[in-house]
Symmetry: D2
Subunit: 144 residues, 4 copies
């Protein structure tokens, strides 16, 4: 079992920064999604490709909030921590916190996603085994 909370580490890329020399704001959302995707794969054991392909479901975003706390620049390390805020019947709220290599809190991203059947896009309950793992993770992180 991997450590709790789960973190994803990466380096800020040159191409993710803009002519002002700092990260282009939308890339922060990309980094948070990248951490969430890794969490699905490594913690829930449900790669998005399987969720969409084999399980005939999807989990589109409903809402996202991004707080830009400290600017990131190229070559900085970013450690993104994934937490589960709330697990509903057919939706879930994640919180992704990004810190740089010196431990400065750089961003906080809150994402609300729902679950749907495909191809109807009708709302669907979170599959029981996925829901269980989400709650277990939440508990392991002391968030419940």
């Amino acid at each position: 079992m991997t450590d709790r909370p789960f973190t994803e580490t990466r380096v800020v890329r040159w191409g993710d920064c803009d002519p002002a020399g700092i990260i282009y704001a939308p890339r922060v959302f990309d980094y948070a999604m990248e951490a969430l995707e890794a969490w699905y794969r490594d913690v829930l054991d449900v790669p998005w490709m399987r969720l969409v392909g084999d399980m005939g479901m999807g989990s589109p975003m409903v809402r996202a909030e991004v707080d830009f706390l400290n600017a990131l620049a190229a070559d900085q390390q970013v450690v993104s921590e994934v937490r589960v805020d709330r697990v509903g019947r057919a939706s879930v709220t994640y919180r992704i916190n990004g810190h740089d290599g010196d431990g400065r809190h750089c961003f906080r991203v809150t994402i609300v996603a729902c679950f749907i059947d495909r191809p109807t896009f009708a709302s669907a309950p979170i599959p029981a085994d996925i829901r269980e793992r989400m709650v277990a993770y939440q508990t392991a992180c002391g968030d419940q």
Copy 2:
């Protein structure tokens, strides 16, 4: 003078969509920023390159909120409308609404940005002429 409110039109790209066949969520934030950038250039007459290069300032994002109201897919037209919600002394709040070609409301993005001096990154008041144009635009849109 261009029409009020200002809109930016584009088409959803194939490469902006994911294996689920709809737009990858962070790209919505990219589309909103693209509209905001065009608004700076065309309405305020202050391309970001000039703000950063010639004026020695910057306007980093402080917070962003994205509501995903209807999924977008490749080849759909997106019309993004830029509105100014609030003009402060050293910060401003924008609202970008995206509609598809059939007029469906697809996303609403709220962005709070501050103004800074470069390279100190110290908070700075919005330059008077830029602030005036922001308020004039807000008035022309009936938002004040």
Copy 3:
């Protein structure tokens, strides 16, 4: 009928430029693909979504060559012209030339793509009606 050769016009985005102040090189490839995608939609009348979804085919890239002739910077206009170099039985070669607003030649991209059946990924001949339109376009451009 749209003009020949077909062109796609866009503006270089702030977020496509890097801390050196010019376009991040891979974005040039993105611009060329964007023009090619628009050409499929507007000239061939085959949006990629239809090619992949309804027709059960695909046209993955086999090889790409990019010549960076003049650097592009934010706010510059880019006019990308699509030409067809060679239409084979199951593959096609495109050439996309990008010029800025002053007519400077900024990039030349050559792309070789093949046609495949999905989901087998087996090589497939270009559908006859698509092939005809490709050749007609090539002729209309004086490239044959």
Copy 4:
């Protein structure tokens, strides 16, 4: 000293794939650039930010060639190996080979970059210490 040849490992992201379910072609160029950037930082000890910021130089791309040998899909591991093909006076040719987790050769990218002074963009010789490290790396890889 890190191993020779230098490799950069990553996972193909969901957001880098398109509705056909495989990597969107321009993202392969992004992956190659990411590996090259890491090689500059870790092997040459010259992060691009220092090259551009402190040293007042730049190394824009002149030409790139990408061979797409096998399609990559989300969740696959990609190991990108950086090799130096040719070190000239003011230009250098890199070769980046990407293999998936099963060792399949997925892409080969050749990049020619030149060196310039900033802000004049005039051609400049590769700084002696950087050139030495490039040649030493080339030798260590058995490419010379």
